[in-house]
């Protein structure tokens, strides 16, 4: 029989161990889980997750990834482009890039490749148009293994200042199962690299 008074400390430890081992499975699992969580917290497991690190690439360098490889070439301010400005006195912020599809199928989401960051007065985050440098036609479909030189256009309000340098982010996507449809799809659009490009003013002098 156990539980008599004046037991040595070793006996108490054994008693505790016995009590733990005889706990119901449910209580044991909860207890172990809470212990693991607490220990991970000590080692930073509960710290807020930092955002993904963005690689900085130089102009002209190819940043490889899925579903496209991208090399940023230049950034310009234009007053004319194949697309008409919504407001006649605004200007175009144009970014040149060579884009090559690395996915296994033609892609229509060309407007998702780049975004310009930290530029005041842009009418939209998404480019107003993307066109092929070779013939100025809209680039709404790109094909695997066929790299194309493209110009991405953003309209900037006339009242906003023209920066000297702009940050251009290259976006990527991941191919995974869409939990809603159950189908394989390109999702999780997120920036994966950036470049700082000097802005060349190519407007006609007024």
């Amino acid at each position: 029989m156990s539980g008599s008074e004046g037991e040595p400390s070793r006996g108490r430890a054994r008693k505790l161990a016995d009590r733990v081992l005889h706990l119901r499975a449910r209580h044991l699992v909860v207890g172990v889980g809470a212990l693991v969580l607490a220990v991970s917290g000590i080692f930073g497991g509960l710290a807020q997750m930092k955002g993904p690190r963005l690689y900085t690439v130089a102009a002209g360098a190819v940043h490889r990834g899925k579903p496209w490889d991208v090399a940023l070439t230049r950034a310009m301010v234009l007053d004319q482009a194949p697309l008409r400005l919504r407001n006649a006195r605004d200007r175009w912020i144009a970014v040149g890039a060579r884009v090559e599809i690395t996915a296994d199928e033609s892609r229509r989401d060309v407007a998702d490749v780049l975004q310009v960051v930290g530029v005041d007065g842009l009418l939209d985050k998404r480019p107003a148009d993307v066109y092929l440098l070779r013939d100025k036609a809209s680039a709404n479909l790109l094909h695997p293994d066929l790299g194309e030189d493209l110009i991405f256009l953003w309209e900037q309000a006339e009242t906003a200042a023209v920066p000297k340098t702009i940050e251009v982010q290259i976006f990527g996507k991941k191919q995974r199962i869409d939990t809603f449809s159950g189908r394989l799809d390109w999702m999780d659009k997120a920036p994966r690299a950036r470049a700082f490009l000097p802005l060349e003013d190519q407007r006609k002098p007024s």
Binding site: N140, H143, P144, L146, R183
Partner: protein
């Protein structure tokens, strides 16, 4: 007072066997479930199109229409609607003949697949004469026209054409016709400097 040792041990052994048996049954059920779901086709496989494969020159039934490949040409440059377009790869122009079965039908999916399994949709750099809204076919009236693709040079010699009446080919009929040529033919296409004209679709008499 403790219970007689033999009875208690037998009862404990029985309870242990029962627990082991239940655990084994649960594990077996889980394993069976995992085996079944791992073998079952995924959503993309379940919703794949019903493909009818044909050969060049012969009509293939695509449920709402019949399609056939008449000829394949290629070029470095093409001309359409007064504009010339060049490419960093090869223009592949498929001359196809199609007829709707019993209601107005358009070919809204046109693609080629290369030997590596990559899919190239019909180009949008020109207004396509026959596909992608270019032509709505009336039943019983055969129409012939070009379908234009832009592919890398390395892919151009071995392609498989796929046509369907809907841009979403899931669980619907699609026709596939291999349109293989060869390396020297592709080189000949690329060597030709003049632009190949892409004409409007026309009724076949």
């Amino acid at each position: 007072m403790t219970e007689p040792g033999a009875e208690g041990a037998a009862r404990d052994a029985g309870a242990r066997r029962s627990r082991i048996g239940s655990t084994a049954l649960v594990v077996a059920a889980l394993a069976t479930g995992v085996a079944i779901t791992s073998q079952a086709p995924d959503t993309d496989a379940r919703q794949r199109p019903f493909v009818r494969v044909g050969v060049m020159g012969e009509p293939v039934d695509g449920r709402t229409f019949q399609g056939a490949v008449v000829a394949v040409r290629g070029a470095r440059r093409i001309a359409r609607s007064g504009k010339t377009r060049d490419t960093g790869g090869v223009w592949v122009i498929v001359r196809a003949r199609a007829v709707a079965r019993d209601k107005p039908t358009s070919i809204d999916h046109a693609s080629v697949r290369d030997a590596r399994g990559r899919t190239f949709l019909a180009t949008m750099r020109i207004n396509q004469p026959l596909v992608a809204g270019g032509y709505v076919m009336q039943p019983g009236i055969s129409v012939e026209g070009d379908i234009v693709f832009e592919v890398p040079q390395a892919s151009a010699a071995r392609l498989t054409l796929r046509l369907a009446d809907s841009s979403d080919v899931r669980m619907d009929a699609a026709i596939e016709i291999p349109i293989a040529s060869d390396g020297p033919t592709v080189d000949r296409w690329l060597a030709e400097p003049s632009a190949l004209p892409v004409e409007d679709a026309r009724v076949v008499e």
